[in-house]
């Protein structure tokens, strides 16, 4: 069982800066866990603590039911893929992959077999004699993955492995990483700040913010039922519309059964529907279009509530006939509305 267990993990840097606070979650055997959050949220620190590259100030991390707090990185049975690949520049691709195995006194034929197997899976068999500097970014990425695969570790750790690649290659490698992880069935922890990458890769998504966990769960659950304002705004692109409603309400927005206390209401752009003025609906807005973004299959209308208020984004399928400056009305269904407490940022149970 190669599950990863985090219990009340905390990190305080020398100098008193608290980077992580009470992090606790379990990654089941074989799951693909993605840590996502804005830069500085502590996700990389957490990954490096699992790897053993950072000390653990408090709490306990265990891999496969064995506490690893005091173990050296090489004893934790993990393999890591770094953002800048960290290949040994003076070694051939073959030696890069074989180095860790040699250090572990793996017999030669076994090393040969494992490297060839990894090279076959990653389709880099023809590159084995080259030096890293003779490879393209995508090829280096594959070698870095190969170096992780040959070790057959309990856990794979990925530290933003795709952020040095161009957009097209990134999407291609993303699919490949996912397939590879499925085939090998190795528990993986993947750090990224790209929410799209996070959504597509994860079996289990951990959203972090300022050293805390905001929410843990399957990606769709986080998308459909964000527990905090932060998750609501972070997951999904373009982001969820989050409109603060003071006690008096705001101009241009009509909400049935409006809660009395101040509340933040959230609606995803894709849950809006354009409607004629005066259509009765649980939620209706009137806005003046300030910008139009056409991406082909869909169009995003950016507008200001009531012509001068908060910005709202509305998604329309296909092309839009509207013009900039035009006033439109959009409605949304009750079950697509999310309510949050402005004070705590937590989800409110409003029926």
């Amino acid at each position: 069982m190669n599950n990863v267990h985090l219990r009340k993990v905390g990190k305080i840097y020398a100098g008193g800066v608290e980077a992580l606070r009470d992090i606790a979650f379990d990654i089941p055997d074989g799951a693909f866990c993605v840590l996502v959050g804005p830069s500085g949220c502590g996700k990389s620190t957490l990954l490096r603590m699992v790897a053993g590259l950072e000390t653990i100030t408090s709490g306990e991390i265990s891999i496969g039911d064995r506490a690893v707090n005091d173990l050296d990185p090489s004893e934790r049975d993990i393999a890591m893929v770094f953002q800048n690949y960290a290949l040994y520049p003076h070694m051939s691709v073959y030696d890069n992959m074989a180095y860790g195995l040699r250090n572990r006194k793996t017999p030669k034929p076994e090393i040969e077999a494992r490297v060839q197997e990894a090279a076959r899976i990653l389709e880099i068999g023809h590159l084995l004699d080259r030096k890293p500097r003779q490879l393209s970014g995508g090829q280096r990425q594959r070698v870095a993955m190969g170096r992780a695969i040959v070790r057959k570790p309990r856990v794979f750790l990925f530290d933003e492995p795709l952020s040095n690649l161009d957009a097209k290659l990134r999407i291609q490698m993303r699919v490949e990483i996912k397939k590879l992880q499925r085939t090998l069935g190795i528990t993986s922890i993947y750090v990224t700040h790209d929410q799209l990458e996070a959504m597509t890769l994860a079996d289990m998504l951990v959203v972090m913010n300022k050293g805390n966990i905001e929410q843990v769960g399957p990606p769709l659950q986080l998308y459909e039922r964000p527990e905090t304002v932060f998750v609501a705004g972070f997951i999904g692109a373009p982001p969820m519309n989050l409109i603060e409603l003071p006690e008096g309400g705001v101009a241009g927005l009509a909400l049935e059964n409006r809660p009395v206390a101040p509340v933040i209401v959230g609606i995803r752009p894709e849950h809006f529907e354009l409607a004629p003025v005066g259509t009765p609906a649980p939620l209706g807005i009137s806005m003046q279009i300030t910008a139009i973004e056409m991406v082909g299959a869909e169009t995003y209308l950016y507008g200001a509530l009531d012509g001068r208020g908060r910005e709202v984004i509305v998604r329309v399928a296909g092309k839009a006939e509207q013009q900039i400056g035009e006033r439109v009305t959009a409605v949304a269904e009750r079950h697509n509305l999310h309510f949050f407490d402005p004070a705590t940022g937590r989800r409110l149970a409003v029926s």
Binding site: P73, S74, F82, A86, H90, Y99
Partner: protein, 282 residues
């Protein structure tokens, strides 16, 4: 347009050629002088082309030496100079690599104090600390030995600083990847850091070999027996004579021989040398 370009080509070439002539001519004269006999040189009418005594003069220089002044053949002096230069270059590189490794990768108490102590030795070349250093070498009975010739010159900060700067540019991820791959500090040093530093090592070797080869003051002080003298001192002894005629053809042959090893080292390591001082790709 065509004319302008050819003019632009000619001027720099002319200036460069002039520079080469100014620098190379004395060297050429030294070579010419080493191929004539003593009488031709000393009557002041030495021709500008090589003479007939090349083999004879160089044979005498290398295997017999001058009649009165140095009492040892130049072959022995070259060997001494070579051993000294090699020991200094290799010793400095070995010590500097290890100390730079310690300063950059380990957090030990007084790390920065250690670094600054090394740094301060930059201000203390042999010429400054000559009396205490001589005293120590004498007390250790190292006068007239290779150890006495080289060890006091090995301690220096330049190479340590160069390697420190280089190590600081090596990405941290390489260290971390090594740790995960199960390589301890020394294994990282031997398997990754030293191979990566190879061009810097070559550059340092060239600089330090020439530094060692050109040493004059220190060998002059601590070598007294004839069979320990170095070639640079040999030239000096040949020229300044009290009761004998200067054998110019021998002195010039020695000068030409003294130039050869540094030239060979530079030419052989030129490619690595330039890379080591300019390359930034990791």
């Amino acid at each position: 347009m065509v004319q302008r370009r050819s003019l632009l080509d000619i001027v720099p070439h002319f200036i460069l050629a002039l520079g080469v002539i100014i620098i190379a001519f004395p060297v050429y004269i030294a070579f010419v002088a080493s191929t004539w006999d003593a009488a031709t040189i000393s009557n002041g009418q030495m021709p500008l082309w090589p003479g007939p005594h090349f083999l004879e003069n160089y044979y005498r220089t290398i295997f017999i030496g001058t009649a009165k002044t140095t009492r040892e053949p130049v072959g022995i002096m070259m060997l001494n100079s070579f051993v000294m230069a090699m020991c200094i270059a290799i010793g400095k590189i070995a010590i500097s690599l290890i100390s730079a490794f310690a300063v950059v990768y380990f957090r030990f108490p007084f790390r920065m104090a250690a670094f600054w102590t090394i740094f301060i030795t930059l201000m203390l070349p042999v010429e400054v600390r000559i009396y205490p250093t001589y005293k120590i070498v004498a007390d250790l009975r190292l006068l007239d030995t290779y150890a006495g010739l080289t060890i006091p010159l090995i301690a220096s900060a330049t190479a340590t600083l160069l390697f420190r700067q280089f190590f600081m540019t090596v990405p941290d991820e390489l260290v971390e990847a090594s740790r995960i791959d199960g390589a301890g500090p020394m294994k990282f040093f031997v398997d990754t850091l030293v191979p990566l530093s190879i061009t810097s090592v070559a550059a340092m070797f060239v600089i330090q070999f020439i530094y060692g080869w050109n040493q004059y003051l220190w060998p002059l002080l601590i070598t007294t027996s004839d069979n320990m003298q170095t070639i640079v001192i040999g030239i000096k002894k040949m020229i300044v004579t009290q009761d004998a005629l200067t054998e110019w053809q021998i002195a010039m042959a020695t000068a030409v021989l003294a130039m050869l090893p540094p030239v060979i080292v530079v030419v052989a390591m030129q490619k690595l040398f330039v890379k080591g001082l300019t390359e930034t790709e990791k």
